[in-house]
């Protein structure tokens, strides 16, 4: 884990110094880990293989594609952005080891988009990100616990919290499914509990409540869920879990001809991934879901259009879906954060830039960003959408009605927030 390069030849050392001084006219000398005159190294841990990888495995490549696009267009103040992806197989213990590799061996400047609630909890605790002052930007998890700025001073969320999501679904249930028997299947850890607590606070009472333990999802376990839901007469079923659990649930329900109104949580509702996992498109038709971003098929959206173009050129052969859209967007936001931190890039300046300027960043998501000196909350809202016969996602009611809220006891409100425009050609020019 420890590497120390010694330059033995004085002429080589002299050459390095000389070239460094030349570059200094364009870029300030920079002694920060992971930053050189020509490069910024970033790292991400995520499941690239295994049961949890469908969908998630695309995020890193999408980020990388966006960074390559930026690099081909001058980089970030002349520095190219390099992303190192590490496969943690969704195992928290492996996330720790891989993050240690990123920080100690690869010497990345920052983590971007690390995925998984248990995984990031383990990493933050065991690797000691706060002690090392390593920034972790745009966590791919909505666990509201990560919004504790005191405990996670150098970490920043991007997704609305699971609590926010549950509050917005609860509001939707009141407005659109009042009087119906409700069921819920949820991942029985901080992910599902975060949501469940918010449902309870919002007064939502489920007639059938089924927890499942992460890692146990399969067709066999889905069979028991469906049996319980059907036996309980659930007419509307909220699913608060990951895609690898959504797929067997919907497939088993379809086979059993059990067809409640599905409300699929944002985490496990990507249509393309579900179809790839064997869920018939007909089953998805009519499923409702909270969504933060536009449909990845909505080419009328300037962000989607630009990202699709980048994907075609820099991520060839990869179907453009919610995960790719999310990855590209994290790339876009990361570049804005790096630019906002200035040419003399340090970890401290990056954190400060997130706190002072992060709320103004352009992002594909419709809701406001909550970053400030006292908040590391990312996006703060959702709109409700419905899937059509093609597996595409359309705004419920025909147009986007954005709801925003917080992770606590604040109200759910309809928002008129207008997101910032996509930077010209998808290339940020902020400072």
């Amino acid at each position: 884990m420890i590497r120390k390069t010694r330059i033995k030849r004085t002429w080589l050392a002299a050459a390095v110094i000389a070239s460094g001084s030349l570059l200094a006219t364009a870029l300030p000398a920079n002694a920060e880990t992971g930053v050189s005159a020509s490069e910024i190294k970033l790292g991400i841990t995520l499941p690239l293989t295994g049961a949890a990888s469908p969908g998630y495995s695309k995020i890193g490549n999408a980020m990388d594609a966006y960074f390559k696009y930026v690099n081909d267009n001058g980089g970030v103040y002349g520095r190219k952005v390099t992303l190192i992806q590490k496969n943690d197989e969704y195992s928290p213990q492996l996330s720790i080891a891989k993050t240690n590799e990123l920080i100690l061996r690869d010497k990345v400047f920052a983590l971007v988009g690390p995925l998984g609630t248990a995984n990031f909890t383990a990493v933050h605790k065991s690797v000691g990100l706060a002690k090392r002052k390593v920034p972790a930007l745009f966590l791919n998890t909505g666990f509201s616990g990560f919004s504790n700025k005191k405990s996670y001073p150098s970490s920043f969320m991007i997704l609305p919290s699971y609590a926010m999501e549950a509050k917005i679904i609860a509001q939707f249930l009141k407005e659109n499914h009042a009087g119906k028997k409700l069921g819920i299947v949820y991942q029985n850890d901080e992910f599902g509990i975060d949501g469940l607590g918010a449902f309870k606070a919002a007064g939502t009472k489920f007639d059938v409540s089924i927890p499942y333990t992460s890692g146990t999802q399969s067709a066999a376990t889905a069979q028991t869920w469906v049996s319980q839901l059907a036996a309980g007469g659930a007419q509307v079923v909220v699913f608060f879990g990951v895609t690898s659990a959504t797929a067997p649930l919907l497939a088993v329900a379809a086979a059993a001809k059990y067809a409640p109104q599905w409300i699929l949580g944002s985490v496990g509702s990507d249509p393309l991934t579900l179809r790839a996992l064997g869920v018939p498109v007909a089953v998805l038709n009519g499923a409702q879901t909270p969504a933060g971003n536009p449909s990845p098929n909505d080419t009328s959206d300037e962000y989607v259009k630009q990202f699709q173009e980048i994907n075609t050129k820099y991520n060839a052969g990869t179907a453009f879906d919610d995960y790719v859209l999310q990855g590209m967007n994290i790339g876009l936001m990361t570049v804005q954060a790096l630019r906002a931190a200035g040419k003399n890039l340090t970890r401290k300046r990056l954190v400060r830039a997130m706190e002072t300027k992060g709320s103004t960043f352009a992002s594909v998501a419709y809701s406001p960003l909550g970053f400030s000196r006292t908040s590391n909350v990312g996006h703060t809202g959702y709109y409700m959408a419905v899937m059509d016969a093609n597996g595409d996602r359309k705004p419920f009611g025909g147009s986007v009605t954005l709801y925003t809220t917080d992770s606590g006891s604040g109200p759910v409100v309809k928002s008129t927030f207008k997101r910032p425009a996509m930077p010209a050609k998808g290339l940020p020019s902020n400072s």
Partner: protein, 541 residues
């Protein structure tokens, strides 16, 4: 999830590491004056200090003035009858150990470099820090008298010997030039809290007839402790068999008396909870908490990675922790005069709150951990003997106030002296350094006091679990580096020895490129000032 078979009992594999006693040579008699013989240029002296502790001195003809004083680790103070799994046949011994495990290669290498080595067997086994420190001080005098050209004494020791070594460095900086506490134990109260929590958890979930402490005096107490060892290893064996038969939902042992409702939670999750609440690492000799057998369907593989492998890691490590708990509790209770474990005020929910989400699958989700913690909250707790607990606290403790260079090294998955033991001394030294720096600034001195503590870690590989072609865990392979108790290589020991010699010669620890090169060549030694090991649960997070 398919079933599997173990080739070997986990208890045999795990616990054997606790008793790594190597007999080098047995002194013929306790001697006030050492009896020396010389062969092949090495003079070996045997004798006994005034407390009757036998010692051994080994000095080369080209003695360079520096002697290594080694303190051996914990040896039970009672014999363990044959037939007890993993431990049977141990007899109490005070054979002197002049180097780790009496390893001939380590001794030979040091002697060849002109260094002398020495070590005592100590007069009493069990937790003997207070008396062992005195023994070592006397032994240093014996050596210097025998070899007046002695210029430096460097101390090193494993486990309990690491505790003794740190204490020597703190209390006798005039006698010690540098010290290396290895896989060290920290203060007795936190250590016994960890052991007691592990044992109480096993008792509570799996076999309430385990006494677990409060042992009677004399032969009756000895019989109770040996009986507990048998019961603990019976539970470990039963759990191993249950997981092998049904990895997803292993049966609860027949000895368990938990309510039927709780048995809806897989018994393997109770193992994980016990490990987490006591602070036992979640990586063990053969289980990395990340791997799955090849060929499993993806969903089963993930389940094995997140739930089954961690349970096996907990099981393997708990075999070590519980063995220590029984033997050391029996020992320390005798010294303190009563029951030393008291969990009447322990909040086990708080103990695991920071980790339960990380190990959510292994704990069977929030419902599983909630049910298990609910049971622990409802069952009667153990009330210790206040006078005995107070007496235990009067035994030697570390202050962290050390002026001579010290080198710390431990495995981050050591199940007996967990890395939190080393971290405790690091934290104490950091507090002491801060105190000194504040005083210096107050006195107008702007020079920050030197950092004389070098902390090294042995991390296990990210993946090391092995499986047979049939997909069963293979526990016949050697324990992974960084796991098990004091599981160091000769190369690592010799690197520590070199670092000690450097520190003694220079009055400060090696640093920079020389340090990196040294530890890189030894292998699996990491210097990372950004790393903090999980604290012992006694201290909280």
């Amino acid at each position: 999830m398919r079933t599997f078979k173990f080739k070997r009992s986990l208890t045999l594999v795990a616990v054997s590491s606790l008793l790594s006693i190597t007999v080098v040579s047995i002194p013929t008699a306790a001697q006030a004056t050492p009896v020396c013989t010389t062969a092949s240029g090495v003079t070996t002296c045997l004798g006994a200090t005034s407390d009757t502790a036998p010692y051994m001195l080994m000095t080369p003809a080209n003695f360079n003035g520096t002697v290594y004083l080694y303190s051996h680790g914990y040896r039970p103070n009672v014999p363990v009858p044959a037939g007890i799994p993993g431990y049977g046949g141990y007899t109490v011994t005070n054979t002197p150990e002049p180097a780790p495990g009496g390893n001939a290669q380590i001794i030979g290498t040091l002697l060849a470099k002109g260094y002398a080595v020495m070590g005592s067997g100590f007069a009493r086994q069990g937790w003997n820090a207070d008396s062992a420190i005195k023994t070592n001080v006397e032994l240093i005098g014996v050596f210097k008298k025998q070899y007046p050209k002695t210029t430096k004494v460097v101390a090193w020791g494993n486990s309990l010997g690491g505790f003794i070594t740190q204490a020597l460095a703190e209390q006798y900086p005039d006698l010690i030039s540098a010290a290396a506490p290895l896989c060290m134990a920290s203060d007795l109260t936190p250590l016994m809290t960890m052991a007691g929590d592990a044992l109480w958890g096993i008792k509570t979930f799996f076999d309430p007839t385990i006494k677990g402490g409060g042992y009677s005096a004399g032969a009756a107490g000895y019989a109770e402790a040996m009986g507990d060892l048998v019961k603990v290893f019976t539970v470990i064996g039963a759990m191993q068999a249950a997981i092998a038969a049904n990895p997803t939902a292993p049966a609860w042992p027949a000895t368990s008396k938990v309510p039927d409702a709780l048995k809806a939670v897989p018994s393997r999750s109770a193992l994980v909870l016990i490990a987490l609440m006591s602070g036992v690492p979640m990586q063990s000799a053969h289980f990395d908490s990340t791997s799955a057998p090849a060929g499993l369907p993806a969903s089963s593989a993930l389940s094995f990675q997140l739930a089954i492998n961690p349970a096996l890691a907990a099981l393997e490590n708990l075999a070590n922790a519980a063995a220590l708990a029984v033997l050391a509790t029996h020992d320390v209770e005798q010294q303190a005069g009563g029951a030393i474990f008291d969990n009447t005020a322990t909040d086990y929910s708080a103990r695991v709150s920071a980790e339960q989400f990380i190990w959510s699958s292994a704990l069977s989700g929030n419902a599983g951990v909630g049910a298990l913690l609910g049971y622990l909250a409802a069952v009667p707790r153990v009330k210790g003997n206040p006078a005995a607990i107070a007496k235990m606290a009067t035994l030697t403790t570390h202050t962290g106030k050390v002026e001579v260079p010290t080198i710390l090294f431990t495995g981050t998955a050591d199940p007996v002296t967990t890395p939190g033991n080393q971290q405790a001394v690091i934290d104490k030294y950091a507090a002491y350094s801060a105190e000194k720096w504040a005083a210096a600034k107050k006195a107008g001195d702007r020079k920050r006091p030197a950092n004389n503590q070098l902390a090294l870690w042995n991390f296990p590989p990210e993946k090391y679990s092995k499986f047979t072609a049939a997909g069963s865990p293979d526990t016949t392979v050697a324990a992974a580096t960084g796991t098990n108790h004091c599981n160091f290589t000769v190369s690592q020991y010799l690197a520590i020895a070199d670092l000690l010699a450097y520190a003694a010669d220079n009055g400060k620890n090696m640093s920079g490129g020389a340090l990196y090169t040294k530890i890189r060549k030894a292998g699996n030694m990491t210097y990372d000032r950004g790393y903090s090991a999980p604290k012992l649960k006694y201290y909280g997070e």
